[in-house]
């Protein structure tokens, strides 16, 4: 799939380059993530030379070159944009501290790789044509994050580099405190509002609850690589903090027993790496049967859920009292893959539905 036809791994690498994503993930996981390791190189480079990544590597920036050129040719006189990138960074990292990475999805690499590829990139393109340089210079949180790294590193760098930048921001610390406090405060409110929302079914081996919400980049890598298309972006079904995170829906497919691709492409560790041989033992959810609408309660000839269960976890047991078959699920064998739900023929509601574990 454009622009990464080379395979699923390229997807993982793109957001993994971002030290911004890595920093957010490190805060959320309370640990330094062992991702590709490349983001550290990018971060160190940013400390040494201002925005070196933007100039030489950033794929989003490279894509925008054309738009920049076009915007300049149009000789528009763009109004001055306030420098927002820094605030985005502070808001996000502050939010991450209390469990919700506000605008992490604005990371240009997550944007390029993820859910907004089509719309997001188009929007950034349009923005750049109208206001050349606005995205890269004023909005891009990764650029701003590099600026912060560069500025923060100034005292150390002065030991090696003769000439001082003179660019280190005065009052940076005040901004840090203010931005992070706003982010953390809002995230706290958001997570408080979130606490009673319906839990969602997450991809296999995903971290649970608020931990997941804090880590997830909302980049959409997992949804994109899913061969059965069961990973969807939450559009508000599970509370505000869950917006755009991956949730599983088994109406038309299930989480295949032989696939762990989503766990391989997650840049932040929100979905931890999983081996195929371990998949059967990692719980995604647990199905529940609505006896009222199950065809077996009406003595109909149906054997779909048991047939399609990859783990042989479903049996039909005859009840002497009801004088019909009932669906029996073995929770030891079932991992909640949703094959039963996908196969269930009842309409409009499915008689067997996977619920969050």
């Amino acid at each position: 799939m454009w622009p990464f036809a080379a395979g699923t791994n390229s997807l993982r690498w793109v957001p993994s380059l971002s030290p911004f994503v890595a920093a957010s993930a490190a805060i959320a996981a309370r640990a330094v993530p062992v991702a590709a390791g490349l983001e550290i190189i990018v971060g160190v480079a940013a400390m040494l030379r201002r925005r070196v990544f933007c100039r030489w590597v950033c794929p989003t920036g490279s894509c925008l070159e054309g738009a920049n050129w076009l915007g300049c040719r149009l000789k528009r006189n763009p109004g001055r944009w306030p420098s927002m990138g820094r605030w985005i960074v502070l808001l996000t990292l502050g939010g991450t501290c209390l469990g919700y990475p506000f605008l992490l999805w604005l990371d240009p690499l997550a944007l390029l790789a993820g859910v907004f590829t089509t719309f997001g990139l188009a929007a950034v393109f349009a923005l750049t044509i109208l206001w050349p340089g606005a995205w890269c210079g004023r909005i891009c949180p990764l650029g701003a994050f590099q600026d912060l790294l560069h500025a923060g590193f100034a005292p150390v760098r002065s030991l090696f580099v003769a000439k001082r930048d003179g660019n280190a921001e005065a009052g940076l610390s005040r901004r840090v405190v203010l931005g992070a406090a706003v982010g953390a405060g809002s995230a706290g409110i958001l997570c408080f509002a979130q606490r009673n929302d319906t839990p969602a079914i997450r991809p296999p081996n995903a971290r649970t609850g608020p931990h997941f919400l804090g880590l997830c980049t909302r980049c959409g890598n997992c949804a994109r690589v899913c061969p059965t298309g069961v990973i969807e972006h939450d559009v508000g079904g599970h509370g505000p903090a869950s917006l755009l995170t991956p949730v599983l829906s088994f109406r038309n497919g299930y989480c295949r027993e032989d696939c762990t691709r989503c766990t391989e492409v997650c840049p932040s560790g929100a979905i931890r790496l999983l081996r195929v041989q371990d998949k059967a033992h990692v719980r995604i959810g647990l199905p529940r049967v609505d006896e009222e609408i199950c065809l077996l309660s009406d003595d109909r000839e149906c054997s779909e859920c048991a047939r399609w269960c990859p783990y042989g976890a479903i049996r039909y047991v005859f009840s002497e009292t009801l004088y019909c078959l009932t669906v029996q699920i073995d929770p030891q064998k079932c991992n909640g893959c949703g094959a039963c739900e996908a196969a269930c023929p009842t309409k409009p509601r499915k008689a067997i539905v996977v619920l969050p574990a």
Binding site: L296, S297, D298, D299, R300, E301, C302, S303, E304, A306, R307, Y316, F318, Y323, C324, L325, A343, P345
Partner: protein
């Protein structure tokens, strides 16, 4: 009569036997064999006490069946045992392909569980997207039902139709006779005749006694694999739900005002071509469908349940007039013996959409939620025994595929394949395993079958 006989029983037996002796002697004295009596009944033969008749005897506490010669009732090219959807289609296919065919059926009608088991809903002729994969002779049967009044409903594309059992019995007789298939009803195949690991025919039990039919190829469409099992083929013995289907009447007399908004009672089944009559399925417990004590227990238990269930339904306001019209003559045995074939139908192949070079049919879906699946010829051919082919629910299929293989249209498809293959085997004088599958595929295509 269980338990010790009391005096009254004893007197009854003595009295009846005396009466019978008296009648028998006076009748045989009054009339000669073959002479018309002028009544509704004539003497066909008069049996005296016979000598040399070899009964089974009790020897040291064991019942011993003596060796005896059997009458050969018929000698044919292809013998089809079992007159259900698979057997009937197999017989017609083989006869149309040029073989002489004899069909035997244990009940007094054709159609097997479709008619005798009142499995009136025909599931499995379509796949995802509504494409109909069951074509050929099976579809011809359905097409004939279309032309009859009140024989079939819901014949729209993508929908599973429901038939009338009597119409199916009628259509099958019509088609079997038109094809010229020699048929024996009321014949229960009990033993395969095997020489050098090759089936030569089958022994039957009927009111005419134990007789044999010789054949070059035998198609086992018994559903239970009776023939290949007795011939020594490898098979799996499985349990499944054993139920009893029934029909209820007066559903057009439900008083809707009285019923009000209260939910309709459960298990009142689905509509049939007969107005006001529903057929009701019953799954029953998972048991061994070959064990006669179990079958008896199922039959009795189900009857008690059905009766009480209908009484309960009649107590629902508005449903007072609903009544139990009939229970199916045949118990709903789903799966018993399943052949171990040269190849096996598997769910993984269905998922992968595997194409087989020796495809002889395409199977459909129970609820239209998956694609077509090819049936390889090898699934009909036993691994060891020669000259016998399986058709219907007992073909070689893994356990998760059993519920698809046993669907009526899929039985049409495997029956059609077995019939065509048997005809080719007879023509070429080859064993089923050596049959030129390309020829079989050609015949099937000519006969309208769909091979994907």
């Amino acid at each position: 009569m269980n338990g010790p006989m009391n005096r009254r029983d004893c007197l009854k037996v003595l009295g009846l036997s005396g009466l019978a002796t008296g009648l028998g002697s006076s009748r045989s004295q009054a009339q000669n064999v073959g002479e018309s009596s002028g009544f509704q009944s004539s003497v066909l033969a008069s049996h005296k006490v016979q000598s040399g008749w070899a009964n089974a005897t009790l020897v040291n506490g064991k019942v011993i069946q003596p060796q005896r010669e059997l009458t050969i009732l018929d000698s044919t090219d292809v013998l089809v045992v079992g007159g259900g959807p698979a057997g009937v289609v197999a017989a017609i296919a083989a006869q149309r392909a040029g073989a002489n065919v004899t069909l035997v059926e244990r009940y007094g009608h054709l159609g097997g569980l479709w008619t005798g088991g009142l499995v009136l809903l025909v599931l499995g002729h379509i796949v995802q997207g509504g494409k109909q994969v069951c074509q050929g002779i099976g579809e011809e049967i359905m097409g004939r039902l279309d032309k009859l009044d009140g024989a079939i409903i819901d014949r729209r594309s993508g929908v599973n139709p429901t038939v009338d059992a009597e119409a199916v019995k009628y259509v099958m007789v019509e088609m079997i006779e038109e094809a010229g298939v020699k048929t024996f009803l009321h014949c229960w195949g009990v033993d395969a005749i095997v020489n050098d690991n090759a089936v030569q025919g089958v022994v039957f039990e009927s009111k005419s006694g134990r007789q044999a039919i010789l054949a070059k190829i035998v198609i086992d469409a018994t559903g239970d694999g009776d023939v290949f099992a007795s011939a020594g083929a490898e098979f799996e013995h499985r349990s499944h739900n054993v139920g009893l289907v029934y029909r209820i009447g007066n559903l057009d007399r439900i008083d809707k005002d009285k019923a009000g908004d209260s939910p309709a009672p459960k298990r009142i089944g689905a509509h049939t071509p007969v107005p006001g009559v529903n057929w009701v399925n019953l799954r029953g417990p998972e048991v061994d469908g070959l064990d006669v004590a179990t079958l008896t227990r199922m039959e009795m238990s189900h009857r008690k349940y059905i009766w009480s269930h209908i009484q309960k339904t009649r107590q629902t306001p508005g449903y007072e007039q609903v009544y139990l019209m009939e229970t199916a003559p045949q118990l709903g045995v789903r799966i018993t013996r399943v052949l171990q074939g040269l190849s096996t139908v598997s769910l993984d192949d269905l998922k992968a959409g595997t194409k087989f070079p020796d495809v002889v049919g395409v199977g459909g879906s129970e609820s239209g939620n998956h694609g077509p699946w090819q049936i390889p010829y090898g699934a009909l051919v036993p691994t060891k025994v020669e000259n016998v082919l399986a058709a219907g629910r007992c073909i070689s299929a893994e356990i998760r595929m059993a519920d698809l293989v046993r669907l009526i249209p899929n039985c049409f498809v495997t029956g059609h394949a077995a019939g065509a293959a048997a005809a080719v085997a007879v023509q070429d004088g080859r064993r089923p395993r050596d049959v030129d599958v390309a020829k079989v595929q050609k015949i099937l295509t000519e006969q309208g079958a769909y091979l994907g």
